[in-house]
Subunit: 235 residues, 2 copies
DNA sequence: CGGACGGTTCGGCGAGCACCGAAGCGTCCG
DNA sequence: CGGACGCTTCGGTGCTCGCCGAACCGTCCG
């Protein structure tokens, strides 16, 4: 067989989109699931606006980002959940090595991220792991034979008032490898619904404009009452 | 926030390893789960041996490949199941577009691949999908709430004589998006065990030295008897 | 209406890198 | 022992691509 796999050029092109430090920084920043403006991303990546404009053009053309123009702003976000998952998976593959914060500020920001954060549209960090573990030990989520909600789990979401809307082919429950904890946490439709519910109900709030989130006193009560989570483990 | 995410350089470097057409061709070829020699890969990718030697050096240094020297041969394979999954996921993201075979030979090779093939260490193509679907309708695999074997599924594997050895943190069941069918098929420990059993028992055999596999008459009997699969659907 | 601002386009520069062929090294085999 | 073979190392070459600043366009606001 001397014939190259026909998928090779496409694979290389896709990887090439991510294989630039500035573009990689954009994708990681956009993992918070929100839309950023071109200027914000340029400052974040530390390059000129003109440079970043070209990067955005490539990422959008490559289908990784979706854009939305509003007035003189160009808002951009990850195209869909599949792209988010891809970036997560790649980042998780990198994680094994280096994770050493340089400055004190970065260190404290890092510890906030480690305590709790959003990962695209679901919860991650110690918070995400705590929720996932609590669901598992209560028999609502099954991880020993794969990764799926149980019938009791479906009932729990329903009873708790968290609607699970099956949309397209997105799985109801999916494992997402947590960067900081090195263990899987709940993603998919259920993970997104739970995260949205937690933010809507004020169980947790975003810290600043970053991905890190903090559990509120009301949230501690709710998580303890509903899932038996020890609040001390979340700090 | 003017500080770049510390993971950006690593992410870019990892993607950069895949962002070359020759290296991408190697990774796709290695998805068959076997070890290839440097020379085989050079011919496959269509570049000089010297060029490919450098590529292998980078892929090994980057942790994507594991090498094994034997005499004057340099055998190389994907480092682990995580890398295989990563390449699969990236390839699946590309797939939506182009899938048009050029030559007749490529077309027939393509149809054989579409009928049945291995995907790293599990079954894929119509064969993989047929098995996955059969497991699902028989209540042995649950896909509606995630992706996990049921208790009945565990019993079935045991009764059928396919041992499931839990190794490290690899999930027992995992969904792997099928390139050709655009639907998930069974991967993980169970998928690998099933594939190995099928090859060991002669249910299917490799076609030539490629990833494509063909179901044998004995295999048709076994799949029909054990899972109620219609042999006609596999051709 | 005019200036500030966000974003884009363009030209040019410099670095990185994939590629090859030639030469060299170790292994295998007649 | 000598030649074939698989692989690696090394220069050298050409192209790609990320980057910037300057100029330009449209939007927002005083």
């Amino acid at each position: 067989m001397t014939s190259k796999d026909p998928g090779a050029p496409g694979l290389a092109r896709l990887a090439g989109l991510i294989a630039d430090e500035s573009r990689a920084a954009c994708l990681l920043a956009l993992l918070d699931g929100r839309a950023w403006t071109a200027g914000e991303l340029a400052r974040h990546a530390g390059v000129a606006a003109s440079t970043l404009s070209e990067h955005l053009g490539k990422l959008v053309a490559g289908g990784l980002l979706a854009e939305e123009r509003q007035g003189r702003h160009r808002y951009v976000r990850l195209a869909d959940e599949r792209v988010a998952q891809l970036v997560e998976d790649l980042a998780a593959q990198v994680a094994p090595q280096a994770r050493r914060p340089r400055t004190l500020r970065a260190s404290s920001a890092g510890s906030a991220m480690a305590a709790g954060r959003t990962c695209y549209d679901h919860l991650a960090g110690r918070l995400g792991i705590a929720v996932t573990d609590a669901l598992t030990v209560r028999g609502l989520l099954r991880q020993d034979t794969g990764f799926a909600l149980t019938d009791a789990g479906l009932t729990w979401f329903d009873a708790t008032g968290i609607p699970l809307r099956r949309t397209g082919r997105r799985p109801l429950a999916r494992a997402c490898l947590d960067w900081t904890e090195r263990r899987p946490h709940l993603a998919g439709v259920a993970g997104a619904a739970l995260c949205r519910h937690a933010l809507d109900e004020g169980w947790c709030v975003r810290i600043g404009s970053e991905r890190a989130v903090k559990v509120t006193p009301a949230g501690e009560d709710a998580l303890t009452g509903l899932l038996g989570i020890d609040p001390a483990a979340l700090r």
